[in-house]
Amino acid sequence: MRPNINVKNRVAVVGAGLTLFRRRLMETPQELSWIAARQALDQAGLDFNDIDCVVSGSAPDAFDGVHMKGEYYVEGVANGKPHVRVFVGGGTGVFVPVAAWWHVASGLCRKVLVLAEEKMSSASRPHPQAVFKHIWDPLVEKPLNPNLIWIFAMEMHRYMYRCGVRKEDIALVSVKNKRNALDHPSAQAAAKITVDDVLNSEMLVYPVNRLDVSPVSDGAGAMVMVSEEWANRLTDNPIWVEGVGFNLDSTNWTNRDLGYPVYLKRAAEMAYRLAGIENPMKEIDVAEPYDPFDYKELHHMEGLGLCPPCKAAEVTKEGLTQRDGDLPTSPSGGLLGVGNPIAAAGIMKAIEIFWQLRGEAGARQVKKDVVTGLAQAWGDLMQVGTVVVMRR
């Protein structure tokens, strides 16, 4: 491990907060943002007045039904401060701490509130999934009347075919993550289920069944990220953000092999270079790979270099990714178990790594001693990868 010399200020996480994730919450996006932000500030021992800058993220405006929703939901938490909202589809939740990192690392801001909010229940009729109709190419794809799940099913089947992985191997991820979520206080979809439950659940788009997929959710999450000087002043237990990575592949997803996530390999390489990680298989102690679908956890473990290509299902079957295993993945319960309020779900994964490295994950704490952890998200038309690497 070599120290990172490419930045002006080291950046630490000193507090985090997360609301309940539920299919429908009564609170408005503004109230959810306010509540999550206050939780994070509380843990950091700071007040809104202490915050220099706010970095937030949320998925398409069409969910909340408010255009310019960034300016709308931060009303209670960013007034009078520099604020920027970032948006890279499903990758947003991890891109928010990435963007907050460069605010602090550059020396521009010292104490940053990092916020992600999503209220999908507002896009109520006919179904929140209908919003995704408008992310396809309007001219050559939309006329086929696609549902977003089609594209993931196509990727999943390609992955299964290329790697010789069976549906029942993939279902183990859903079983693991939903069970892990039983210990998460925010969880919406925690459950004790079996592989057969997954295989027998409603068929949406073969090979994707209902229990292969994370649910529709409302929720918000927040972190406080500060410079080294402030981290040392505020806590004895800062968690350093040591690597960030982000990368974009083509929207032209019908022109590339879907079996391996190249966009993620590139994003991970960027983060590892910054963090001085040469062998992620050995150096990453705990990971939160993005799991909106169960196959995606496997696909992403491979893209992140946490195991060789096509080997993630085997590693999962051997139990290595359980909380007491050598490579615990999604100890939070992931999107499959905790829920998927899009941007908030991504930040939930970064927050879980923060709590794991602090030893504050309670019943979810992984068995092994953890020094280095990683959170990752993915989005747009299967094309963007976002990664943060944190160290104790």
């Binding site: 006919p126 209908a130 109709k133 032209n252 022109n255 190249v262």
Partner: protein
């Protein structure tokens, strides 16, 4: 300790709690752009047209006026065979608004012949006229398929009805 609780709503209590319903009424009329104008003209004539990169040789289908891999302008148009191989395929039971379909359809990505490497290739998402069982057994993967053209064509991706299997792998 401050109370940070939020309030879950069941579907029924959500219905009762709704205070405002809005339905945006925007209708989007999309201009086709330079590359797709020619592409759609080609489809009307029963041809699949692409643009070829002078540097990497990749034929772009759907066509682009730039090569996103080499950052070069593309001006050379080529006709691509209306045949290819099934890169991936799925059985869809739901459509755009999560409505369940009466009869499931097979949809997939067709890797068209003409250029490409292991990772990149000219390709289209389209319907595949085959039985769901051929997808579930993965027999469809890698099968050779050919476009079935609509008799009345108007310059749209739907001028191709579907791709039909010519031979199994």
């Amino acid at each position: 300790m401050t109370d940070f609780k939020v309030t879950p709503l069941s579907e029924d209590s959500f219905r009762n709690a709704i205070r405002e319903s809005t339905s945006p009424r925007a209708v989007y009329d999309m201009a086709p752009g330079e590359a797709y104008t020619k592409f759609f003209e080609g489809l009307r004539e029963g041809k699949i047209l692409g643009t070829k990169c002078p540097s990497c040789g990749l034929v772009h289908v759907p066509p682009k006026v730039y090569c996103q891999y080499c950052y070069l302008p593309l001006t050379q148009w080529v006709e691509v065979k209306d045949e290819g191989f099934v890169e991936t395929a799925v059985v869809v039971y739901i459509a755009a608004e999560r409505e369940r379909l009466e009869k499931p359809e097979v949809v997939g990505v067709i890797r068209l012949e003409g250029s490409g490497d292991r990772y990149r290739y000219p390709g289209l998402m389209h319907r595949i006229c085959t039985e769901p069982e051929e997808v579930k057994s993965s027999r469809i993967m890698g099968a050779k398929v050919k476009a079935r053209w609509a008799t009345e064509r108007k310059g749209s991706i739907n001028d191709i009805e579907c791709f039909e299997v010519v031979s199994w792998k």
